[in-house]
């Protein structure tokens, strides 16, 4: 009974300049009825979370490079350890940039090819959702979803060998697409290599994506495809004995 009552517990990391932490908090607490807490970047105690979120924004003013300074914040040592132990971690937008700078995900994100900041709804094609049971368990291969994007530096780059490896291992899980799910240059909002919008690590527990799932969790605000990532996580946590045991 306690196991069924266990509510997922999410920790949202906050850096100076983060701006999406309240949206993640809202989705976790108000939409899903989960426990969520904000943890400041200078802290190292993640408060025994079931999952960790690195939200969007402009950590440390994006100075030097996006995520370059945030990756040295004390909280990142704990996030790295949590990820290494198999804990689910998602980095959205600036969070994705921090994950690449920290080396938790390969590649890097740099200035959009047209130099513009893009804030819009964006169609995305889901690929290889089985690569990340924790975050994408509720999706099917080829699903076309719509999520907001909001970034000036979202162009994913990596050397060809890394890109080939990601493709070979099925770790490219989101690509910018048109409404029919076709990955075509016109649908690419920032010039990302191979239309890449989201990737996972080899173990599948760390997901980085430029779009904002937390801004698409209620139909009242335009869509709820982002909520499916949270629901995937909720189901995955309930299937995982370790998470339930910790709560008993």
């Amino acid at each position: 009974m306690t196991l069924l009552a266990a509510r997922p517990r999410v920790t949202v990391a906050v850096f100076p300049g983060t701006w999406s932490e309240r949206d993640f908090l809202h989705v976790a607490e108000s939409v899903l009825g989960w426990e969520a807490r904000l943890v400041w970047h200078t802290e190292t105690d993640l408060r025994e979370p079931d999952a960790v979120v690195l939200p969007g924004g402009f950590a440390h003013g994006d100075h030097l490079r996006t995520g370059a300074i945030a990756r040295f914040s004390p909280i990142m040592r704990s996030v790295e350890a949590f990820a290494a132990s198999g804990g689910p971690v998602v980095g959205s937008c600036n969070g994705f940039q921090i994950l690449t700078e920290a080396g938790l995900l390969p590649g890097a994100l740099t200035r959009n090819d047209h130099l513009e900041f893009r804030c819009d709804w964006q169609a995305l094609r889901v690929e290889h959702p089985s690569a990340s049971a924790a975050w994408l368990g509720d999706f099917a291969d080829g699903d076309v979803i719509s999520l907001p994007i909001s970034h000036g530096e979202g162009r994913y780059v990596a050397d060809p060998a890394t890109l080939d490896q990601l493709e070979r291992e099925g770790r490219v899980v989101l690509r910018y697409a048109d409404a029919d799910g076709r990955v075509v240059p016109d649908a690419n909002p920032n010039g990302s290599e191979r239309g890449i919008a989201g990737i996972v690590n080899a173990a599948g527990n760390v997901l980085g994506l430029m779009p904002h799932p937390e801004r698409a969790a209620e139909d009242e605000v335009g869509g709820s495809d982002g909520l499916r990532m949270f629901r995937s996580l909720g189901r995955w946590l309930h299937r995982r004995p370790a998470a339930a045991e910790r709560r008993l």
Partner: protein, 93 residues
């Protein structure tokens, strides 16, 4: 002794540089028709202490690898000189 490193960080050749391309287009539109390639970058002037030139060089190299440039997409080059050579108007605050 004090040293001054001027570190130049730029996108790797092969990584599209939209800022450089835009500046290049602007220069051509001003009549500099021969401009064929512009790459943008970032200049960081870093004053610091080190025992000798070799130690200063090693420190700058380490700074670049740990923080200043992301090797996935950037290169870093630098000029290093002893602080005595810096004119008063150039001195760091």
């Amino acid at each position: 002794m004090r040293w001054l490193a001027e570190v130049h960080v730029a996108l790797r050749p092969g990584i599209a540089d939209p800022e450089g391309q835009t500046v290049g287009a602007a220069l051509r539109s001003l009549g500099y028709a021969s401009v064929s390639d512009v790459r943008s970058g970032k200049l960081l002037r870093i004053g610091f202490e080190a025992d000798d030139h070799a130690a200063a060089e090693a420190t700058v190299d380490e700074m670049c690898h740990r923080l200043l440039a992301n090797p996935v997409m950037e290169t870093a080059t630098w000029d290093l000189r002893a602080d005595e050579q810096i004119g008063a108007d150039e001195a760091l605050p």
